[in-house]
């Protein structure tokens, strides 16, 4: 019995998938302070690249979409030695300074932008998301992990922000696990919501 409890405890602990998210940033706190309710999808990568975000926010009944993507084309030029003859040390510290700036936790800065979308479309997106009842969704730590295995499958991360709280839900490879162990409403929810974000905010998430 003791062994069984320890085993179940381990299984439970193993399913607490929080490590993939970069957590709450000044950008999250900004929306908590100034908006009524906000949903953010975080796109983490398998690299040192900072995550990008897509955001839908509601304030006084008006919906807006935003995105955050820390792209610095000047940095890419610095890495390319053929473009400019720069002494190694100077180049290294130029990169360092620019990279450190880019790697700062997301905030309202030059990497943050509004996405110009027709209000009717934004309304449609919000309604579509609402059908999945995002505020009622649970994430991977609330149910047993599917027995199928995928490593480096990546996580889907959603932040739900209200005046009261910032809730982060993490789903490890939800599409894969929904195919392997179908029927989980929570995974279906995040898959559907992510799809709506991709459709209505068509900014490429992939960062290699």
């Amino acid at each position: 019995m003791k062994n069984l409890l320890v085993f179940l405890g381990l299984i439970f602990l193993m399913n607490l998938c929080l490590a993939q998210s970069r957590g709450v940033t000044p950008m999250h706190e900004f929306f908590q302070q100034y908006a009524d309710s906000t949903i953010i999808i975080e796109y983490s990568t398998q690299s040192f690249e900072p995550p990008s975000y897509k955001i839908i926010s509601k304030k006084s009944g008006i919906l807006n979409c935003f995105y955050y993507k820390a792209i610095d084309s000047g940095l890419l030029k610095l890495y390319n030695r053929k473009l400019a003859q720069i002494p190694d040390t100077l180049r290294a510290f130029l990169q360092l300074k620019k990279n450190n700036f880019r790697n700062e936790p997301a905030s309202i800065n030059i990497f943050f932008n509004i996405v110009a979308i027709n209000p009717d479309i934004t309304e449609k997106m919000w309604l579509g998301i609402s059908k999945f009842k995002p505020w009622q969704l649970l994430d991977d730590k609330s149910y047993p992990e599917c027995s199928a295995v995928v490593m480096d499958g990546g996580s889907s991360i959603m932040h739900l922000i209200t005046k009261k709280e910032i809730k982060t839900l993490v789903y490890y490879a939800p599409k894969y696990y929904e195919e392997q162990c179908p029927g989980n409403k929570n995974r279906q929810g995040i898959i559907g919501i992510e799809l709506l974000f991709s459709r209505y905010i068509p900014i490429k998430e992939s960062v290699f």
Binding site: N3, V6, F7, G9, L10, I11, L13, M14, N15, L16, C17, L18, A19, Q20, Y43, S44, T45, Q46, S47, F48, Y79, N80, R81, D88, T89, A92, F93, Q95, L96, N99, N100, N103, D140, E145, S147, A148, V149, V150, M151, D152, G153, G154, S155, S156, Y172, A173, P174, K175, Y176, E179, Q180, K204, E205, S206, V207, F208
Partner: protein, 517 residues
């Protein structure tokens, strides 16, 4: 003039005759030389092979040691397989010489994809042929057993010459499977030809076990091919194709998954077995799917790693004869698009089959060194999955074990599982283990760059650390033990985190690996 012509006429005929005889003599002389060279090659090959095997006899049992079901072969009737060196053939391939040596037995020894009916002792003796296959390049010799299993339709064609099919060349209407086993009798690779794949599809659909709903983790073009070993004793030939045997044994020796048309046509490409080269080579039960072979950079990075990269070999050793298969693929769609570059997964219906998938858009845009890093990283996952499954029968490590395994590496992994890290998933636990053993990735990358990157001399340890830590910086180990270390960054002290994040793009940008030749 006319008189002179008539007086020389009888001799004029002699001129072309002498000329033709000269050509014939010269040609025969050349053939004789060729034969002498061939004899020499075969004699050298025989000597090399005897050194490899210690002169021990080859028995049918080496192929049957992984019998999964069915009757075992009675020890007393186990056959010796004799190499018929007198009928060995050698021929030239690009940059190497191939030698094929037929294997003969007193009775019947064949492979088939169907079991023999117990009521029927009539054996189709031409169903397969097995030969020792040797490749000789300058200073490098490799060997394996090659078995050609002929499709039923092929054998019914008039005028077919099954024995004419070789490693390099098959008859135009050939259909069947070619299986490769290493010198220890372990399955290495296989390839399907022609309509045989449809015959097998039909055969599989009749089997309730094989007729299953394939999932996304199981590539659509993969087929489980059952392989049977059929042996007969005291046989009498009946016609040219069949023989009756007093005793016949049919053993299922396992199934092999062939994806697409199967392994690369050249089983030696970066996949040496039974070689006489360096001692760190391992026999790998891996399949490089055609999707890898069709991707220039993925193929380049993988084959370079397979070419005796010590750390990559050490990670793949888990797939050496332990009953696990590893398949490398390039895929358009990954488990969690669009952000994954590489992933390691398994066949949920057969958990001893593990897949390493690379995302096509990633391999198309990334330099070879970054693909190599991803392959090393994923191979580490595959290694840990195999180790855990072999001991616990599951990819999770839990306290269901009754005896702590001897394997120290596994103990370390178990400790991480048991440390009850809050907020960790199975993948996070793997990453924590990989982080604690980051030296494997760093060394593997260094060796790769030293051998193949013309810009190697411009890199230092921090460049390799930057590349190796990419994607692992979220681990607890990195945050607690690495991130804030102070390292040298162009003559200035800097945190490891800053140095690695800045040098990773530098090595990616500067790397020069030749993937053309």
């Amino acid at each position: 003039m006319g008189k002179a012509y008539f007086s020389f006429k009888p001799y004029l005929l002699a001129v072309p005759v002498i000329f033709l005889i000269s050509i014939l003599v010269y040609s025969c002389k050349k053939d004789q030389n060729t034969l002498l060279v061939e004899d020499k090659i075969i004699a050298e090959t025989k000597t090399w092979f005897n050194v490899q095997t210690g002169g021990l006899p080859i028995t049918a049992a080496i192929f049957a040691k992984n019998i999964q079901s069915g009757n075992t072969i009675p020890t007393s009737t186990n056959q010796n397989l004799t190499l018929d060196w007198r009928n060995a053939k050698s021929y030239k391939d690009v940059g190497r010489t191939i030698v094929e040596v037929p294997m003969v037995t007193e009775g019947i020894f064949i492979f088939n994809t169907e079991a023999l009916s117990k009521k029927n002792d009539k054996v189709e003796k031409n169903k397969s042929i097995t030969r020792l296959l040797i490749s000789k390049t300058l200073g490098y010799t490799e060997a394996c057993f090659m078995t050609i299993i002929f499709g039923n339709d092929y054998l019914t064609h008039a005028g077919v010459r099954p024995e004419n099919n070789t490693y390099l060349k098959q008859e135009n209407n050939f259909e069947g499977i070619i299986l490769y086993h290493n010198l220890q009798g372990e399955y290495i690779a296989s390839k399907r030809f022609g309509k045989m794949r449809y015959e097998l599809d039909k055969q599989l659909s009749l089997s309730p076990i094989k007729n299953r709903n394939l999932s996304i983790a199981y590539p659509d073009d993969c087929k489980d091919i059952p392989v049977y070993q059929i042996m007969g004793y005291n046989c009498v030939d009946v016609g040219s194709n069949f023989t009756y045997c007093q005793s016949v044994y049919s053993n299922y020796i396992g199934s092999q998954t062939i994806c697409g048309t199967g392994h690369q046509t050249d089983p030696w490409q970066g996949n040496p077995w039974g070689n006489s080269g360096t001692s760190n080579n391992v026999n790998k039960i891996i399949v490089t799917d055609t999707s890898i072979l069709n991707s220039v950079k993925a193929k380049c990075a993988l084959l370079k790693l397979l070419n005796n990269n010590v750390k990559f070999d050490s990670l793949l050793k888990a797939f050496t004869g332990a009953g696990f298969n590893l398949t490398f693929k390039v895929k358009d769609v990954m488990a969690n698009d669009p952000l994954s570059r590489g992933e390691t997964t398994n066949n949920p219906l057969n958990k001893t089959e593990i897949y390493i998938n690379l995302r096509r858009s990633f391999v198309n845009s990334a330099p070879a060194i970054q693909i190599a890093k991803t392959l090393l990283h994923e191979a580490f996952h595959a290694n840990l999955m195999q180790k855990a499954y072999e001991v616990f029968g599951t990819y999770d490590i839990n306290n269901n074990w009754t005896k702590k395994p001897e394997n120290m590496e596994l103990n370390e992994l178990m400790d991480i599982f048991e440390s009850k890290l809050a907020g960790t998933s199975r993948a996070d636990i793997h990453h924590q283990y990989i982080a604690q053993n980051i030296g494997v990735l760093v060394s593997g990358l260094k060796e790769f760059a030293m051998k193949y990157d013309s810009n190697f001399s411009n890199y230092n340890d921090n460049h390799f650390n930057g590349l190796a830590w990419e994607g692992l910086e979220i681990t607890k180990y990195y945050k607690d033990n690495v991130k804030n270390l102070i390292v040298d960054y162009f003559g200035h002290p800097e945190t490891a985190d800053n140095a690695y994040k800045n040098l990773q793009p530098v090595i990616i940008s500067d790397s020069q690996v030749n993937c053309v030749n």
